[in-house]
């Protein structure tokens, strides 16, 4: 078989098998290099796969050479490819830029374990995005979750531990709920393969176990995706994790859960439960709206930069779910595009926070007062990413917000409510992003801030790259948009 | 004839073993303090186990199963008293005494 044909497997296997190698490499520098190389390779593979997907190829891979319902098969669709790009891209950027930052937060003797866990997170998240098997999703979900707990617990102060514990409990509950749901679907269909499930569900549709299974799967994944009100683990976890971990995890991990959610609800259940779309929407829409409002409102009053951004993430996850809950091609396109754009914006902002943290003693708003003049490039990148988060035109965030509002407008009265909520939260975003910019640029610097210099080159380069991407994809969004549109077509392809 | 005798014997052993096991269980529940309970458990248990497993061995004849049963029996016989010993020791060390006894002067050095 040609190497190209092996790419779907390699996407997961490369980081997955580099991880144990990294455990053996006990020098921090070497383990960092190996992790970065693996992550870069994974990113290259993801790009290649995205190219194939855009070219219209159907990517299908049979693990162990066993045909679909019997063995585990990998399927990469447009949305999966988008998620892969996010996961591998975020990991690569954070690793390339994060060496100095991580070196200050994690002692040398443990760093190789840390990098191994990082690679496992990467492999786990990619594994979820490529697989076509419901149980395999569970396995890789747990791989990534367990490793994520390790990464978050590596945070510098003790609150990281309690935050991780909370995450561990809630994450496990979510995964177990998912497992219950999959079990019930399996009970009624006898298969674990997504495509096969869809076909076989037709015979047992409307039976109670299936309805209950749909509920459990949705709730479980909503927990993993930090959907309001199941988001309580997220702010603590994002706040107390090492900065680079936050940049990596915040950019992609919740999106992977949303990806599975969409896949299950649209591929598997859509045609097999009557009015499933209605139930799905009436469950998701109010929670998405509430999440948007609450997340934004809390972010407005937070004074810790990371916590502020974490609450903003809750709101942004609401945007994605809102798009999905509109169940229209435009809505799902918006959701998929927002996955991509929010990852760009939030990733860049957390990278900037990491850069600040390298030079300052804290990342509360008071701590960064006036830093904009000492670290102008970092600040500029932060401002651009912030603009993208708000949805200022010319940035990536604008594109998806535009699509989302447009999709909502097309929905009639209910859509108008959504429009009002999105607009309100955009205003809130203006406020909280502005508070950061104002603190960083227009406030008088403290002595510590005045001594601050620009962050080291690698992180700065990565940060500027991320900020530039925010602008580039705001002006030329063709690439993510065509993937998003393809995803919408694929997901709604089953809608009859 | 021989086989029938073996069968009857094994059944008897099984029955007896089950009875002993049951008695041990009752003892553990009904005896007044820790050490007497331990006593009931370990004594009836060893015998019950032996009888039960022996009965099973007779049923299976000369085979891998008999060997495994033997291994289980040997293992239980080795470990159960050890566990009981260690438990009693720990309880004693912790200062729990059998009813109506006192600790010898030189117990803890």
């Amino acid at each position: 078989m040609s190497l190209t044909a092996q790419l779907p497997a390699l996407q997961v296997v490369v980081p997955l098998l580099t991880a144990p190698l990294v455990v053996l490499l006990r020098t921090p520098g070497l383990s960092w290099a190996a992790a970065t190389a693996a992550s870069l390779t994974a990113f290259a593979i993801a790009v290649a796969l995205a190219g194939q997907v855009l070219a219209g190829e159907v990517i299908h891979y049979e693990m162990g050479g066993w045909p679909a319902p019997f063995g585990i098969s990998l399927n990469i669709d447009a949305l999966g490819s988008l998620v892969l790009l996010l996961v591998t891209g975020a990991s690569t950027l954070a690793l390339v830029g994060g060496r100095d930052s991580l070196a200050t937060e994690i002692e040398a003797g443990r760093r190789h374990l840390f990098y191994a866990a990082w690679l496992i997170v990467l492999a786990g998240l990619s594994g979820i995005a490529v697989t076509g098997d419901a149980f395999n999703v569970f396995v890789f979900m747990e791989i990534s979750s367990l490793a994520t707990y390790v990464l978050i617990a590596a945070g510098p102060d003790r609150r990281a531990l309690t935050a991780t514990f909370k995450y561990l409990i809630m994450g496990t509950i979510g995964a177990t709920f998912y497992l219950i749901g999959v079990g019930m679907v399996y009970m009624m269909t006898g298969t674990l393969n997504f495509a096969d499930m869809e076909v076989r569900l037709a015979e047992v549709t409307e039976l109670r176990p299936i309805v209950v299974a749909a509920g459990f799967i949705t709730v479980g994944l909503a927990l993993k995706a930090a959907m309001f009100p199941l988001h309580v683990w997220l702010p603590g976890a994002y706040t107390h994790a090492p900065h680079m971990v936050t940049a990596f995890v915040a950019a992609c991990s919740t999106k992977v859960a949303i990806y599975v959610l969409l896949r299950f609800d649209f591929f598997v259940f859509q045609n097999n439960l009557s009015q499933h779309d209605l139930h799905f929407a009436s469950f998701l829409l109010p929670l998405a709206l509430l999440g948007i409002l609450v997340g934004s409102a809390v972010a407005m009053v937070e004074s810790n930069l990371k916590r502020l951004l974490a609450h903003s993430s809750v709101a942004q996850i609401g945007y994605i779910l809102l798009g999905a809950s509109l169940i229209s091609e435009a809505g799902i396109t918006a959701a998929a595009a927002h996955m991509f754009n929010h990852a760009l914006a939030k990733g860049a902002m957390f990278l900037a926070v990491a850069a600040f943290a390298l030079r300052l003693s804290g990342v509360r708003l008071n701590d960064i007062a006036g830093v904009g003049r000492q670290m102008p490039l970092t600040f500029a990148a932060l401002a651009v990413a912030g603009a993208s988060l708000v949805g200022i035109p010319g940035t990536a965030g604008f594109v998806s917000k535009w699509l989302l509002l447009q999709a909502a407008f097309a929905q009639g009265t209910l859509g108008l409510v959504a429009v009002v909520v999105v607009v309100l939260s955009s205003l809130a975003a203006v406020v909280y992003v502005w508070r950061i910019i104002e603190a960083a640029y227009f406030c008088e610097p403290s002595a510590e801030v005045q001594a601050a210099r620009e962050a080291p080159l690698p992180i700065l380069a990565v940060l500027l790259l991320a900020a530039a991407a925010n602008i580039y994809f705001g002006l030329v969004p063709a690439f993510p948009l065509s993937l998003a549109e393809m995803s919408a077509t694929e997901l709604l392809g089953g809608l009859q | 004839m021989m086989a029938q005798a073996l069968d009857i014997l094994s059944w008897a052993m099984l029955l007896a073993g089950a009875t002993f096991v049951f008695i041990g269980g009752v003892g553990v529940l009904r005896m007044p303090d820790l050490y007497t309970r331990m006593h009931a458990a370990s004594l009836t248990d060893t015998l019950g186990t032996l009888l039960l497993l022996g009965g099973l061995m007779l049923q299976s004849g000369l085979s891998l199963a008999t060997f495994k049963l033997l291994a289980v029996a040997v293992f239980l016989l080795l470990t159960a008293p050890t566990a009981t010993y260690a438990l009693a020791n720990a309880a004693l060390l912790a200062g729990r005494l059998p009813k109506g006894t006192t600790l010898p002067e030189d117990f803890k050095q």
Partner: protein, 328 residues
């Protein structure tokens, strides 16, 4: 019929035990009851024809898990503080979940129904084709090692991650070996001064190790396999550490070796996949390993099971030592 009766009996006990676990204020009691819970669960699995699962549950749930819980309990308070907060909300949420599940049960196939969809689609294929394609008696092992070998690789990585995580959080157990012997002797937290357990232990350890090997390599024919074998191996070494002290145990299997075992098993597993790729097959397609595909399958399963066993043993031991070392 017998199955149902047994099940009902065991399951009722299971519920009682679970209630006991939740109600117990003393955490040690709770851990003991968890041990019983696992044993009951395992017995129940056995009654339900899941021999492999029963073996695993016993080795992991009743054995390793208890040891780990005790290790953690040795480092934390033993009593739970009574607290009544949040109770009503919790009750409502859990009751709601349960009601939903109960609602679903009435349209589920009843226990043992041969017409259940589960037994119609994929499973018969496994049972039918395994003798022909893989030719090993234990279909569970065939599914585990070959048809869903990718899942099992994931499972190994999960275990590895747990190992990495615990070592990351609690530190490598290497430090114990560096301490002077005297220091540890004063702590005397192992059982070397108890003659009876020591003698018996020494007697049974080789036997347990032998049994672990048996479970490892007999996994294709009977219940067992890499995971169970690894757990039993680890249990044997934990027994050794219990009666001789961690320091002794760490001289037998050094911390460095532990790390190599953790990573090496996973790498061994993965490299099988890479080799199959190099030979022109898909990842983990063992057919290409040998000119005869069936032999290739068998070889592949043996090697990956070995990888699983090594990693599991390494990780469980490392975790045990990490907890134990933290106590000093």
């Amino acid at each position: 019929m017998i199955t149902v009766v047994f099940s009902v009996f065991l399951l009722t006990l299971l519920v009682i035990t679970a209630l006991g676990v939740v109600r117990a204020q003393n955490l040690f009691t709770a851990v003991m009851l968890t041990g019983i819970f696992s044993l009951l669960m395992a017995a129940n699995f056995f009654v339900l024809d899941a021999a492999d699962v029963a073996l695993t549950e016993a080795a992991v749930g009743a054995g390793i898990s208890t040891v780990l819980l005790l290790g953690a309990l040795g480092l934390t308070p033993r009593e739970e503080r009574a607290s009544g907060a949040k109770r009503w909300l919790a009750l409502v949420v859990t009751a709601l979940t349960t009601v939903v599940l109960l609602y679903a049960t009435f349209e589920q196939p009843r226990l043992g129904d041969p017409q259940a969809p589960v037994h119609q689609h994929v499973a018969p294929w496994y049972l039918e084709k395994t003798p022909e394609l893989v030719d090993i008696p234990n279909v569970v092992t065939a599914v585990l090692g070959s048809y869903r070998g990718y899942d099992t690789l994931g499972e190994v990585i999960v275990v590895l991650t747990a190992g990495i995580g615990v070592l990351f959080l609690l530190g490598l157990p290497g430090a114990v070996g560096d301490r002077p012997r005297d220091d540890i002797a004063k702590g005397r937290t192992y059982l070397s001064h108890h003659l009876v357990p020591q003698v018996v232990g020494r007697l049974v350890i080789p036997f347990i190790l032998l049994f672990a090997l048996y479970v490892q390599f007999h996994g294709e024919y009977g219940p067992g396999g890499g995971f169970q074998a690894g757990a039993i191996f680890a249990a044997a070494m934990i027994l050794y550490a219990l009666i001789e002290g961690e320091r002794e145990a760490l001289t037998v299997i050094s911390p460095k070796l532990l790390i190599w075992m953790m990573a090496g098993g996973a790498l061994l597993y993965g490299s099988v996949g890479l080799v199959t790729m190099a030979l022109g097959g898909n990842f983990l397609d063992y057919n290409v390993l040998h000119s005869n595909p069936v032999a290739g399958q068998q070889w592949g399963i043996i090697v990956i099971e070995l990888g699983v066993g090594i990693t599991v043993a390494g990780v469980l031991l490392a975790i045990y030592h990490a907890f134990a070392a933290r106590g000093h």
